[in-house]
Amino acid sequence: MAHDYHGRAMPPLISLRSLSKRYSSVTALEDLTLDLEPGIIGLVGSNGAGKSTLLKILLGLVAPTAGSAQVLGRDVVREGPEIRQFVGYMPEHDALPPDSSATDFVAHLAQVSGLPATAARERTAEVLRHVGLYEERYRLMGGYSTGMRQRVKLAQALVHDPSLLLLDEPTNGLDPSGREEMLDLVRRTGREFGIAVVVASHLLGEIERVCDFLVAIEGGRLLRADSLESFTRRTGVLAVEVEDGRDAFAAALVQAGLQVRTDGHLVLIGLTDDRPYDLVRDAAADLGLPLVRMEQRRHSLEDLFRDEAVAG
């Protein structure tokens, strides 16, 4: 348990006890018990794994069927409005009325979070600037691009300066550069401003770049909750791309005693020491294959989830 600077014991940021949520025929969450401390927490799992349901329970939007959940030391069922004054939520889907301007709408939502009118307007201007909306903020949101709308959604989640930010698939619908910018905003929000963040995503590749703690759920059950470091502590992977002859190449490497897996054009080789580099060179030379690309990768989470086998 963490302590504040008076030495008092502080409740965990989020505390789940045997939390379950069942809809009539579907079990969305099954017996989750977990304590989370502030930081950037990635909530990963495939679509339908129960990520959105968990976020909604933390907000008090959805009541758990069994078990309990506490956020910032308060019970989500009984103290919803009190918790939500200090929590920001960015929903997965589009949630903005097209006939309002970003400024008007975000300032209004700031007041609904409990901020006085003047503070709401000031914070709105700051937060919209912070997410990168300038002159556009006076225009009606109906004319915004997806990227701009995602920014407004992030801004409305930040406008009341929450202690905890819950983001549901924040890069949804964004192009690659938009994704980068959104991830950078998330990273800075967590690191520089000291706001605890929970990012739900099915894109492991993205989430592992911003978070420092990971919670993996699948089919409503907790797979694993650990620091990112311990998730990826294993050794790396060498990815090699060859033209044609991929299978022969892989077979040659297996014969040489390496752990090999193929993925599209790529041959992925478990990397425990420097030996595979020479073997790759030799195998390519023996088979007369042109090497297109060779890169060392950190063991990506996606590999961990898909196939535990590569490096060991």
């Binding site: 504040d4 600077y5 502080m10 502030p38 907000l59 939007l61 910032l72 030391g73 308060r74 919803g80 409005p81 009190e82 918790i83 939500r84 004054q85 200090f86 929590v87 920001g88 939520y89 929903p91 889907h93 589009d94 949630a95 903005l96 009325p97 006939d99 309002s100 209004h108 939502l109 007041q111 609904v112 979070s113 409990g114 901020l115 006085p116 009118a117 503070a119 700051e126 937060v127 600037r129 912070h130 990168g132 909306l133 300038y134 002159e135 009606l140 930040l158 009341h160 300066d161 202690s163 910018e181 950078d184 905003l185 800075r188 929000t189 520089e192 401003f193 000291g194 706001i195 605890a196």
Partner: protein, 334 residues
């Protein structure tokens, strides 16, 4: 970080307001996302995130804010010009007979006409003029008030804030009630002003007309509660504006038609039941009872209810619509 009462903010302490103001122009030319990457350097151009250490006013403030925003929205204020046409147009039409009446009594008093010239437009008869317009107002604005938030999935943004689902429903109801009360009471106030100011003896006319004010306020409240309650209960069930509008109009018109047919054909107990289910006739009855006049409505005559019944029945009616609206929001997926 501590819990909700967090006081310390490890990073990005608030900067002075001036530095934020100074920095406005240059930053807008920067790449937006990197505008404050210099946060740690403490540059005055940094527009980075600032913590908020001010007060948080909680749930009551949240509800009030939603109410005020919704009330303005009911009249299209803060929206495009087009959004103002229906509410202000209808409010003006509701005002028109009173305007004409006040104008005529002003002319009449100039021409030396006395109270003998009794206008047909009186406090007690105004409901007959404005009821249709109020129904149209409800049909146009209630879907706007609640359907919009469902149509564009805005509800999660509200329900994730410092209010409860029932608070949302009540704030929206309050906004529509207030709007309807304003639209209904404005012409009554105009009649009042016309009668008092056009009179030879203004103080005497004021005292005389003051006697009607309690009834005016009572019927204003009742009309607003009943019409607003029914319209919002209907509108809250669909994100589709066209459905909501049609159903609201039907919700007022169909029971009235049924009641008049039943009264015509049978009378007696069946007519009484039909009237008890018809908000328009009930409002007419309550209006007559409050002003101490016979509504002269053949359907009410057929039903033959005691005058004191109308208001309590309407009270039950309002409670039912409020309960339906709240229940809808407790169950809606968000």
């Amino acid at each position: 970080m501590t819990g909700p009462n967090r006081a310390e903010t490890p990073a990005a302490k608030p900067q002075s307001a001036e530095s934020a103001g100074l920095a406005g122009a240059p930053a807008s030319t920067d790449a937006p996302v990197n505008a404050s990457s210099a946060a740690s350097a403490g540059s005055i151009y940094d527009l980075g995130y600032r913590r908020y250490d001010g007060v948080r006013l909680g749930r009551r403030h949240a509800v009030r804010a939603l109410y005020a925003y919704s009330l303005r929205g009911t009249f299209g204020i803060g929206r495009s010009g087009r959004a103002k046409i229906a509410p202000f147009g209808l409010a003006f039409i509701a005002l028109l007979p009173a305007l004409v009446s006040a104008g005529i009594s002003a002319l009449a008093s100039q021409a030396g006409g006395g109270p003998a010239l009794q206008s047909p437009i009186r406090y007690a008869t105004y409901l007959a003029f404005s009821a249709t317009i109020l129904i149209l107002f409800c049909a146009a604005q209630a879907p706007e008030l609640v359907g919009r938030d469902q149509r564009y999935s805005v509800l999660p943004l509200y329900f994730s804030r410092a209010l409860r689902r029932s608070d949302y429903a009540l704030a929206k109801l309050g906004a529509l009630w207030t709007a309807l009360a304003l639209v209904f009471v404005a012409p009554e106030a105009l009649i009042f002003a016309g009668r008092v100011l056009a009179a030879r003896d203004v103080p005497a006319a004021f005292t005389e007309n003051l006697a009607d004010v309690p009834a005016i306020l009572a019927i204003t409240a009742i009309v607003a509660l009943v019409m607003g309650g029914l319209s919002l209960a209907i509108a809250s069930f669909t994100p589709r504006r066209a459905y909501a509008t049609t159903t609201i109009i039907a919700g007022f018109v169909v029971p009235a038609i049924v009641a008049s047919i039943v009264a015509e054909l049978s009378g007696g107990t069946i007519a009484t039941i039909a009237v008890l289910l018809d908000p328009s006739d009930l409002l007419d009855g309550a209006n007559g009872w409050l002003f101490g006049q016979n509504p002269g409505n053949p359907v009410l005559t057929a039903a033959n209810l005691p005058g004191a019944v109308y208001v309590p029945v309407l009270g039950v009616y309002v409670l039912a619509t409020v309960a339906a609206t709240i229940r809808r929001y407790l169950r809606i997926t968000a």
